[in-house]
Symmetry: C2
Subunit: 205 residues, 2 copies
């Protein structure tokens, strides 16, 4: 890497290039762009990032990102409170909401089980999910993790925990091409895969 | 765009997507990545951007970015103080420094003349350059703008201002492919184009 003529610039480039998909050259381009912006604009940018990280709240029920103790979906009385779809992260919530086909609630795991990345079931919101199932009147749980090894492992782990309950556990139809991420699926395919969900069993794998 | 479940998230995505080359989807990916980082790490990121914009200084001589009143190049007694290369921005300084072929000083214009983008000569450091030429003992000025319309216009503008002086005005050899940006040229081509510089005249255009 080129030596930069300023510590301030060097630190900004260093920090920017820690972001995923941002290399040193892109980071430098962004930093130089910032130097040409209004001071106030960059103050808003920096502050909004710090506030995002410090003040963000999660719904106490479904762990979706929320500015209120319960998110707008969980506190909507028109949604089916007996149906819960389990997803990896908030981007999946947004993708499913956009289909307009789903009227139940969510449960955001905050990741998937991945021993290679050091993510164990305890790092996810699986325990809160099991408590929620015990406490609330939930009839059906839809497992909608991405169709890859980690997603399948996570789904199977949750399924095993609930095998003896009389809860219906289903999984979204594999209309979503195997190996693709949920958030990139087109709305029709993703919507249909929720409507055509099938009972969860080992044979889905 | 998808409706986001949080004002904080929405503002962060909005601000991130103002950066060049960052779309809404990438901005959301970056914002969600930030939520998974240490609070302290994001505080450092945000603060470093704000400090970069607020505290950055420019060398009073060459307008290179610098943490001190005079940059490390201008204050290096081993550099040839009689030779000045004029470049568009600091990335060009870094590209030329990396060739290891240039031992003179710089003058950073801070852009190029571009009526379409509303950049006039007064928005650039052309006046300070002319003052510098009048005050300092400079024998030769190398014009090293990018070989495009704006770069050529800027070079010609400066050349006209100096036509009657007895300063040698040269331009780097067009070893750099026309239409390409200086910063992407390979080190050998860029270094040679400085060594093989030719007197500036209309016929270069």
């Amino acid at each position: 890497m080129i030596t930069l003529p300023s510590q301030l610039l060097e630190q900004a480039v260093e920090e920017l290039s820690k972001m995923p998909g941002i290399g040193k050259r892109t980071a430098l381009r962004l930093a130089l762009w910032m130097l040409k912006q209004d001071e106030q604009h960059i103050a808003i940018l920096g502050t909004s990032l710090i506030r995002l990280r410090n003040e963000i709240q999660y719904c106490s029920k479904c762990y979706n990102i929320s500015d209120t103790p319960f998110c707008s979906i969980c506190s909507d009385p028109r949604r089916d409170q007996t149906l819960v779809i389990v997803v990896k992260d908030i981007r999946d919530v947004m993708a499913i909401e956009q289909t307009g086909q789903y009227r139940g609630l969510y449960h955001v795991l905050g990741g998937v089980i991945s021993p290679l990345d050091g993510v164990s079931p305890d790092d996810l919101t699986i325990k809160p999910l099991l408590n929620r199932i015990a406490d609330d009147e939930i009839n059906e749980l839809i497992l909608a993790m991405n169709p890859d090894i980690e997603g399948d492992t996570t789904a199977f782990y949750i399924y095993r925990k609930l095998e003896k309950s009389n809860l219906t556990v289903s999984t979204i139809a594999r209309g979503v091409p195997v190996g693709d991420d949920l958030e990139y699926a087109d709305e029709v395919t993703l919507g249909r895969s929720i409507l055509n969900r099938v009972p969860y069993s080992n044979s889905n794998k």
